[in-house]
């Protein structure tokens, strides 16, 4: 596994030019995520209308993997229904081998439906960094906790 597979161009682009930065004035859901081992921090604001995520804003500091994952996640979930967000989260975790796959997901390319996020697949070869990639997703789950998924 070469480092060039880890530090893909799209990851560095999201790290250097993070999308959807900022905060919402009146978020419908919010969570702060932290990795206490490394100090990475993330603050996530969501606007939710009915069962749809209508806006996503992020602030935080951290490594290229956590920040790129956050930026890509924000782009991926904006405009999606909560059920679609849950499905996306599952797909991401299957790709990262955090969750078991299921028949609906192609084993050879579990990130096929994930767009830019598929670039993070290389991270699973670097076990200590999987937590970095998962930080925004764990923060998202925290923000949505208690909401019916569909």
């Amino acid at each position: 596994m070469s480092l060039d597979d880890l530090y893909r161009e799209v990851i560095l682009d999201h790290y250097r030019n993070p999308r959807r930065r900022g905060a919402l004035e009146h978020p419908d859901a919010h969570a702060d995520g932290q990795n206490p081992l490394c100090g990475d921090e993330l603050s996530l604001d969501l606007a939710i209308d009915g069962d749809r995520v209508t806006d996503v804003r992020l602030q935080g500091r951290g490594c290229s993997i956590s920040q790129a994952s956050a930026s890509m996640m924000a782009e991926a979930i904006a405009g999606k229904t909560l059920a679609e967000v849950a499905a996306l989260t599952h797909r991401f975790k299957v790709m990262m081998e955090i969750e078991e796959g299921d028949p609906g997901i192609d084993d050879s390319r579990p990130g096929a439906a994930l767009g830019d996020l598929e670039a993070l697949r290389g991270v699973r070869r670097f076990p200590v960094r999987i937590k970095c990639a998962d930080l925004p997703w764990a923060t998202l789950a925290q923000a949505l906790e208690g909401r019916p998924e569909a």
């Binding site: 060039d4 560095l12 490394c38 951290g62």
Partner: protein, 409 residues
């Protein structure tokens, strides 16, 4: 070091490969590697001498007790303690600091009293005192840093008034390498009736240490940062203070008499060693100080100062690299923390790891210090007796690779 390759042969792990490259271990500020002399001493203890200490009325138990107490004598002599009774074995530096916080602080501090720390402290010398403040109503105050990473003593006279009862200060920063003027601060603390505790987790392993000359009241350090095993450390304390101090933990081994409703305590140091202690670890600790004494702590310091100076020179030539810590080798230890352009330290650690180089990335258990430095994390290379200039050299192409991967011009 007169014969570094022979010394390195004592450390089996240093001949390992990581990710297809020879291991370059530059994380000794986190934990050091262990020589065969330490491993063999611990192995021999379990194979030939294992029994519980201070209680068996048979010859094997006497052997185990002699080995355990023998280790205490070695550690005491290593730091020039006036008596082995001044050396309490603890689980490590953190537990040594907590022993003072809960054995002295809890009983002596009152609302309005102050505990004076510095802003470069490790969490281990901050959080126990925050907990004690909650119990006692005492307050924390901090000596700040200067712009050149030294502890700023210009305001010491103003901060160190009669409200201050405890001064907690690092003997060597695990992030910056800074060596605060501990003796000067301890003398000033004594003048206002405060006790001084030195977090010596990085000091005792790297500098010749004479606790009597230092003038502090307590000195805390751990074995695993000085070639010994994890799970054991030491609290040195002035005997009169230890004798007047309450135990932070109760249990077997630390008592004189136990009744159903009241008990009395054993004398120091056993008063502070409740339960069966880490005996094999004490034996390993003793073997580690023997190993360091055979090299000589002046030589340990000379070797590390050489490597640190060399590393600072080589890193200064890397474009975009910032070192956090004093420039002068004479004023710092061998922990060299840095950042490289906008590359996050975790990414640096991953890239260096792919070249077989082990460094630490993160806040190094010093979050308040990193907030002051204005960075969420730093990368840290740190050195010990077994490191070589070649290993410092290995950093340079690895950092160039990081620049290439991140497209840093």
């Amino acid at each position: 070091m007169s014969d570094l390759s022979r010394l390195r042969a004592d450390f089996p792990i240093l001949s390992r490969e990581m990710n297809g490259r020879p291991l370059v271990y530059l994380d000794s500020a986190a934990t050091t590697q262990k020589p065969v002399q330490v491993l063999d001493a611990m192995d021999a203890y379990y194979r030939r001498h294992n029994a519980n200490v201070h209680r068996g009325a048979y010859a094997l138990a006497t052997e185990a007790t002699d080995l355990y107490e023998g280790a205490r004598i070695r550690v005491a002599s290593f730091i020039n303690a006036a008596s082995p009774r001044e050396v309490v074995f603890t689980r490590g530096t953190t537990s040594a600091i907590n022993t003072v916080a809960y054995g002295w602080g809890l009983y002596h501090l009152r609302p309005g009293d102050r505990i004076l720390l510095t802003t470069l402290e490790h969490h281990a010398n901050i959080v126990p005192w925050q907990l004690i403040c909650r119990h006692t109503g005492a307050e924390l105050a901090y000596l700040p840093l200067t712009g050149d990473f030294r502890v700023d003593l210009s305001g010491l006279a103003g901060l160190l008034d009669e409200r201050v009862k405890v001064v907690g200060i690092s003997g060597m920063s695990n992030v910056l390498g800074t060596m605060p003027p501990v003796a000067e601060v301890a003398a000033a603390a004594r003048a206002v009736g405060a006790i001084t505790l030195v977090d010596a987790a990085q000091m005792v392993p790297h500098l010749p240490t004479d606790v009597q000359a230092l003038g502090a009241d307590f000195v805390a350090f751990g074995a695993h940062k000085m070639l010994g095993p994890t799970g054991i450390g030491a609290l040195w304390g002035r005997l009169d203070l230890l004798e007047a101090m309450e135990p932070a933990e109760g249990g077997g081994e630390m008592i004189r008499d136990v009744g159903l409703f009241e008990s009395t305590w054993a004398e120091a140091p056993h008063r502070f060693e409740a339960g069966t202690p880490p005996i094999a670890e004490a034996v390993g600790f003793g073997a580690a100080v023997d190993y360091l004494s055979a090299i000589g702590m002046d030589e340990v310091r000379r070797h590390e100062a050489d490597l640190t100076g060399y590393a600072l020179d080589r890193l200064a030539a890397v474009p975009g690299l910032t070192v956090y810590g004093p420039d002068e080798v004479a004023e710092r230890g061998g922990a060299v923390s840095f950042t490289l352009a906008d590359i996050h330290p975790h990414d640096l650690a991953t890239i260096l790891d792919s070249q077989g180089i082990a460094i630490r990335a993160g806040h190094h258990c010093a979050k308040p210090l990193h907030r002051i430095l204005g960075v969420p994390a730093t990368a840290r290379a740190s050195f010990y007796v077994y490191n070589t200039r070649d290993e410092v050299d290995a950093l340079i192409p690895a950092l160039a690779e990081a620049r290439r991967l991140f497209g840093v011009a």
